[in-house]
Symmetry: C2
């Protein structure tokens, strides 16, 4: 039943993504031709549907220990499926494009829980991850074939279930001539290293540490929850980096751990920062913000120096994610990595905001073509697999 | 990527099912040819992998209010995926058939929560269901393409997400000449009414009330959890049906509610029986068991008389499910429905025990062929859809 979509030379694909910051759904409508190394795409429309505080608190609670039981999760999974479906419908209206002519949806869903560490249950080793946003509801409401929930399969194949964007970086950014480092500044910062003319096996990708998550939480706490992030870095710009605090933060053991590695918001919690602030006697919130910006930049530099530069040559650093809007963070990056040509992914037809949504649209396209859509070298999976669950769109009479 | 499977004239399909009683995984290996009305199948092997008390208690707790949070569910979802994968591997070993040559798996999963009633969340009407047993793990461990989690899509299309077996009854049992009622005596009893030469739209299917769930719970309580069901009805055979208790039970409003209707173990709880026992002064547990057997039979008779017999003619009652092993229950059925020719589904090549596992194998086969695999007339869905999520098996190099 998926043959009709495959036979089309040009496909319209929607990508749907709700990230660890749980602030809303990024949606993108793409024109896509080809697949694998012949993939070409163009963004028709991008949109971000922001969650209301009520919805955000449901999602946050759903992932918190002891907060939400099976019935609550069952409901919020369906509710979020309805939200994703509306996001897909909305972007079609915005683009004045009939949703009946959309060929495919790729939906990441919302990660609630990610437990790549092995636990033993009744004699069986178990590693697990939980994405919500029921794809059956997305496929039913939109009538569009949907590929969703990519992480489970990578985990099942022995991988960390992350980073998934490394494959997209490989698809979009690899270059015969230039070594490129692709950096995503989301809640957590992660990079993909693409040596010149690289094969899938030689791509390195890992989390470098916090991106914006600590900055966001500090701004929320400083403004009594009125602001959720440091708009253009204006608060950080009022402070000065405090070396003692920076040194303390840079002692975090994650930074020197060799890849493959991944972290989450619990590895770098705001209480860890607060304790560091107390113990180093920093009194000014703006100074802490300025220090956090340099900390993010330094953790990226260290990752490059320790794990990338010794082995390969790189010329470009291509940055995406919400952090690209923080001018202080970008300035710090430029200072720490002055040898690299720093660009924002917008310059490659891939706006920083839209990158992950584009990525899941492209992962869905690969899956539908029967191609592997992850990089075992990056995730640690034992072999290549096709990630994602396929949900047929509307029933086509024979 | 599913084309290669579709091109095969004969397919080997595994069906996996864990029912509301949460006692284990029913697994079947089938030879299947054709699809839709040309479907022919033969059972190669059937098996039941019983859960240990520890696993069963995890599953029961996972569905209980306030008992298990997102992290716990995430783990048990993956754990059960591993169990299902092992069940599939085990049946292949038992049948001495290489799993590499199995074409398809249909997995129902384990229902933890089923909430077909509408709730309003942030202005959106939400209906939801939750099946666990991660199909990404099943597909990865077995290497076999897997179709799983059928209920969500029916619910999304406006249906009750049940009964799904009605479609299988239609596929397997419809007859040009004879009107047939297919009765499944699981925890809950449900029937599918197939008038002679019926079209999909004229199939009626609904729950009639408890099947074995009350009997099982009472036996467990009478034996201090040593026995989980009334083996061949031997305890019921020691008692006598008590009319006052029977009348009390038959007053349950669910029985006279017109179809489509479905119920679960909370609609007919053991505490409801205990209260009826107290108020009618029945003192003997064996008498209560005997009364429960007649109650099940009477609720089936009432359903037939009220909703089936007035409109169509039926000659056969074909019974499946664990309840067929309870001789008292079967005797009561024969007495209450003496006009019908009563058979056990075994006589049609479909052993009572294996029916649901066979059913999900056949639902997966229909899904893969791009055919609708539910009966909107039975579930209440607004239109036909393809139920299930597709997980590709091992990656096939091009």
């Amino acid at each position: 039943m998926f043959q009709k979509i495959l036979q089309k030379k040009n496909k319209r694909i929607i990508g749907l993504m709700s990230g660890t910051s749980m602030d809303g759904i990024d949606t993108v409508l793409l024109n896509v031709s080809g697949s694998a190394s012949s993939t070409r795409f163009e963004i028709v429309q991008f949109d971000m549907l922001q969650y209301t505080p009520q919805v955000r608190s449901w999602l946050l609670d759903a992932g918190r220990p002891g907060k939400t039981d099976a019935a609550g999760l069952c409901r919020v999974n369906a509710f979020l499926g309805e939200m994703f479906a509306r996001a897909a419908q909305h972007i079609c209206r915005k683009a004045k494009f009939p949703i009946e002519e959309v060929d495919l949806i790729g939906s990441h869903g919302q990660t609630l829980i990610h437990l790549p560490e092995m636990v033993r249950m009744a004699g069986i080793d178990v590693r697990s991850t939980l994405q919500i946003g029921d794809p059956a509801i997305i496929a039913e409401r939109t009538g569009v074939t949907t590929v969703a929930n990519f992480r489970n399969r990578d985990l099942a194949a022995g991988g960390q279930g992350a980073p998934l964007m490394a494959f997209v970086d490989f698809l979009v950014f690899r270059s015969r001539a230039r070594g490129r480092i692709i950096l995503n500044l989301g809640g957590i910062a992660n990079l993909t290293a693409l040596p010149p003319n690289c094969a899938p096996e030689s791509v390195l990708a890992f989390d470098t540490g916090p991106g914006n998550c600590l900055i966001d939480q500090l701004v929320a706490s400083m403004t009594g929850n009125k602001e959720q992030f440091d708009f253009r870095g204006r608060y950080a710009s009022r402070g000065t980096c405090q070396q003692s605090l920076l040194d303390h933060l840079l002692d975090h053991p994650f930074l020197s751990k060799p890849p493959p590695k991944s972290c989450d918001r619990t590895s770098f919690s705001i209480s860890w920062v607060e304790e560091a602030v107390r113990s180093t006697g920093v009194e000014n919130g703006f100074d802490t913000l300025a220090t956090l910006c340099r900390f993010t930049a330094c953790s990226v530099r260290r990752a490059c120096e320790q794990f990338l530069f010794p082995a390969q040559s790189y010329e470009e650093l291509i940055v995406s994610g919400g952090g690209t809007k923080n001018e202080i963070l970008m300035k710090e990056l430029a200072e720490q990595l002055s040898k690299l040509d720093i660009k924002v992914s917008d310059e490659y037809g891939l706006p920083a905001d839209a990158k992950e949504a584009v990525g899941f649209a492209l992962l869905a396209n690969e899956a539908l073509h029967g191609h592997s859509n992850h990089l075992p070298a990056a995730t640690g999976a034992r072999h290549s697999a096709i990630l994602g669950m396929f949900l047929p769109g509307r029933l086509v009479p024979e």
